[in-house]
Symmetry: D2
Subunit: 361 residues, 4 copies
């Protein structure tokens, strides 16, 4: 893995800045003969797209993807697939004020300290717009793992969590929060509205479940499935934590409670079946390898750093300034994190499916 490339066998490289002409991804190692066209990618971009409700940034980006290579007569050819999304609604002048000031909580100061230069318009490379490229790449990854179903949803906003007894997957696409709990979605509407009006912002937790992953994907020791998922998720903008299965809660269980007991499963057509697990504290992964249970992870997003409320900071001349971030921002960046978490899950799983096939046939 190099700096802007992710994956081992199924790999993708992303490029582009928030206010440059375009952004994109190059997907390498994709198996040949998969049916692919722009229409297979667009719905996933649409789910992540800004400006679709008052709970996300009002930047209007169609996020229309173009496939520039790697597909012939509607099928992947095994050569690199270049994806491009043009930026259309940049308002760089919004950013004049922060050309020199470092926004607290943002990557401004760190980029300057590292590179001695930064494209300050809309956060440049550190903008969450980069995740559009991942979502496009993730749509291709899904084609590689048709046996897997991936569902991500927001399970908590501003400390207000869903009630797991109300879990309704069909509701996720019917509300602007990717929320699987009708009552929570109602509460969040008020919560996020209030934050937006106050010039504040909120954090969120996104949960992701991948079912259909067979036992045996993942590779010890430094290519563990959970380690790769952790890197994938912690690399998404604004994330600060990753859990697999019970996560921190597992640290509070006893060994008896935490052990996922097994019983012989239903025999399949070719004889003995997979084991039936009596619990899934492990989140579908032990020893870095999938067990056949659903792979479960949870990702914490900090509140959007771009807020209207002024904060103390410094500028690139080292002077004290107060920063108030105008521009158009998500009051809760974690909401649009759900499609990105799904994409990263797909990208990690597709890579590990191929890696497993490489070594074990």
């Amino acid at each position: 893995m190099s700096m802007n490339t992710f994956g081992r066998v199924f790999r993708f490289t992303t490029w582009g800045e928030s206010h440059g002409p375009a952004l994109g991804a190059v997907v390498d190692g994709c198996p040949p003969l998969l049916e692919l066209n722009e229409a297979a990618i667009q719905p996933f971009l649409d789910a992540r797209r800004p400006g679709t409700s008052r709970f996300t940034t009002q930047r209007q980006e169609p996020d229309q993807v173009k496939i520039l290579s790697g597909v012939f007569e509607g099928k992947t050819t095994g050569t690199p697939i270049s994806l491009m999304i043009e930026n259309t609604d940049q308002r760089s002048k919004d950013y004049g004020e922060i050309a020199k000031a470092y926004r607290p909580g943002h990557a401004d100061y760190a980029y300057d300290a590292k590179y001695g230069i930064r494209d300050y318009r809309g956060g440049g490379r550190s903008s969450a717009r980069e995740t559009a490229a991942r979502v496009a790449a993730g749509a291709i990854a899904r084609l590689v793992i048709p046996e897997v179903t991936i569902t991500a949803y927001v399970s908590e906003i501003g400390g207000d969590a869903i009630d797991r007894d109300n879990l309704d997957y069909t509701f996720i696409d019917q509300n602007p929060f990717f929320c699987p709990d009708r009552l929570a979605a109602e509460r969040w509407e008020r919560l996020v509205d209030e934050a937006r009006k106050n010039g504040s912002s909120l954090g969120a937790v996104v949960e992701c479940v991948a079912s259909g992953v067979p036992a045996g994907w993942g590779a010890p020791i430094y290519a563990k499935l959970d380690a790769d998922l952790a890197a994938a998720m912690m690399g998404i903008n604004a994330t600060k934590a990753v859990e697999i299965g019970d996560g921190f809660a597992a640290a509070r269980l006893t060994g008896e409670q935490n052990a996922d007991e097994m019983r012989p499963g239903e025999p399949g057509p070719e004889g003995r079946g997979a084991p039936e697990f009596l619990a899934n504290h492990a989140g579908g992964i032990v020893g870095g390898i999938s067990t056949g249970q659903p792979v479960v992870c949870r990702v914490a997003f900090k509140p959007t750093s771009s807020i209207l409320t002024p904060r103390k900071s410094i500028n690139s001349d080292g002077e004290a300034v107060d920063v108030r971030t105008k521009g158009r921002h998500d009051p809760c960046v974690g909401i649009r994190g759900a499609p990105v978490v799904e994409a990263m899950m797909a990208l990690v799983l597709a890579d590990h499916k191929l890696l497993h096939r490489a070594q074990c046939g």
Copy 2:
């Protein structure tokens, strides 16, 4: 990164099974002319070594490291450094019973599902003994980053957390729990003893702070410092969660609360100084790049899966069995996780120091 290799420029590869003749690491990319001998590595291995108190496994392993290459006349030469630790206290016969039975919570079933074969003796490659090789490699990584001080400690066992008002770093090495809180250590003594006597086990949380990391290490987008730390920590045996800075708590803050405000710092000898941060919710990393603040992470360890209390499972013939893991095991594997977390922090930081130097000079 391949499967048993970690890192980008400063890289290490580990090998070895719990009950094989030896285990080891090959460290590649180490700068030349660093002073290195076995004595510089051994103290870190001793800290992780089993059998030093009744709160860890009673397996007696001296974990004596040998340097087989890459050092000449007491200095690193820039060529690969091969480290070997011989296993001396294997009792493979303890494992006869589990040759066929899958221990719940263990990697047994997953390894068999993946490879169709597994070295069941002591967990084979999935044993936490592998972490000795990381600790040895980590000792070399520390030599690459003399400007950095790394401290890891156990902050919670079985749900019982330290009181941050009692934090005393000097106490960490004076108790068998790597605990920085004298009162918590007393409580844990009883807690762990009880778990051990009951044939049960406990989880733990390890916290790690690296101070002295300059601003600018880390590299967007897929080599973010926090993403690499997440992979590093989630790849340690028995870990289920990783937080950077406030982690999940950040998802419950507002944007104003979470923003780490800045003020001009004290001017240094060469003029303007680094900013003074008024908080460190970010844990020293924004946009994947270090800010100059302490890098903070937190790692959750599940309770040891090897317990004496019988659990329902199946064997490799698909039959229902009850499994009771004899052998010698840590009642709380997270305790010895502290030196491993420190090692992984050092390995990630050393790698990123060199990677930053490569790109930015």
Copy 3:
């Protein structure tokens, strides 16, 4: 290195097919603050561009490069640089006949055997058009190594070699063959014309000299400078051999003849100077590391496989056919290989400069 990515620290990924909408490269790991715009890249593309004389393919491609990311206010930012070149003169209908037939010497059969699908238009991904992306990336690599001067020239066409006594570097850009020998260029004019008229094609040898490379670049054992150069050159379309320094001729020397003797060099400003070498059989590299002498390599290009003379082959139905490749082709593809060899030399050297800096400071 993944499949369509080259390099370790300074890396680039290319994408695109001969007759797709565009092709491009993503350059990752480039140091920040280098002055870069399209005009710095275009001259190198112009040198490689087809259709500039009757000795190259008549396909008219402006090969206009666009920078889509990684540059801000005229300077590199350290983030990935996306380069795109649109295809404008595809005549895909020329290729109808070979949609099913496998051209001997071409990658047609091999691609079909591997992927079960191929974009047959103009050779698809196996077309030498891909090298435009490398040349663009190479132009950026040159900015990373301003201390190095790279010159490639054609030293032999169809078995007719230059006379080294006539070597005139200033002539290289003044003839359509990148030939440094005025007399040879005259002979080649007749030679290549004749081949073209006969519907035949010719092979060539390209030689490349990089001067100014300091001692110490390259890294044993599997990142040797010469090994990376060999991979770089052998990966160019139509190449079949690579020599470093004396190459095969070295195998015919005695140890005394081959040893490049040394004498103390002129003292430099900071005291002792670099050694003065009395010969350069090694081509500037020993043990995989540069010595400070000019780095010299030689690359053999086979004759263009696309010829008008009919050849026996089979088609994708396994039937015997005779293939005659129409379309527009270089009568000697090695000629335009010279700028590509230069680019690959620059890319390898830039990567190794950064890699050396990473490890050795």
Copy 4:
């Protein structure tokens, strides 16, 4: 690929110096369930072993390999296989004189220029002893590709080539030169004896043929099979050139001559057969992908740099000295290159078999 690691999916990392306690390799990504023990590796090491005739160095090394991990009950487990070979016949005092002097043609000066330190004993890491680790790893690679037969032989020593009409593969193992031509072997005996007595040395060419490679291995653009072979071979000590198929001779053919014509092959059990090629100028690789024909490469070895005849040089103080290399050396290091070339061929092919399986199933 990092510095001391080679390969993409089937990877190996080597370590060790000529006069250190041991050297070794860690093989990662090996498929599970292959039968493996030391006896499967030893014959290949014996073929490369020094001291077996008067035509190689008189250093006596049993080169006994030990497997330290990755094998359980006689079968590979899919986890890293650690191989170790202890050094037993170091005579480091032989090297006292060259502790400071740089041997012309050797890596001494380059290592010092790079690292500022070098283990001068026997060439340290730059010694050809490192190739023993590759040969051991190569023996495991062969198990991954049972369908392939690899044969390497010396085709030329000191400019005296074999007569291809005399090719007799069965003779290769019956003479100390890995020579397939009985008459050439007789001539070489005198040639090498003479060089040895004169304190001189000779170069050689090694040719390698791999038959049974199916069509479809190799992966454009930067993981081409021939590019990987070029890197693999150019990274062997003392090599200066690599040819695939006709190599430089292809640059002297016309397009008609060079095109490997095809005819429909014999139908196989499942219908249509592979094509029958009427020639193999390409050496079994086009577009970086195997065609099903034998893979052919040729590697040039320079004469051993360690010679008794004094040569002009400098020492690490920058003073002029004359260097005469005592110690025990191969009069023609290319001879023992044959088993190393075979090993590298196996390692590249095994890696590409798995990589192909990853992407194309």
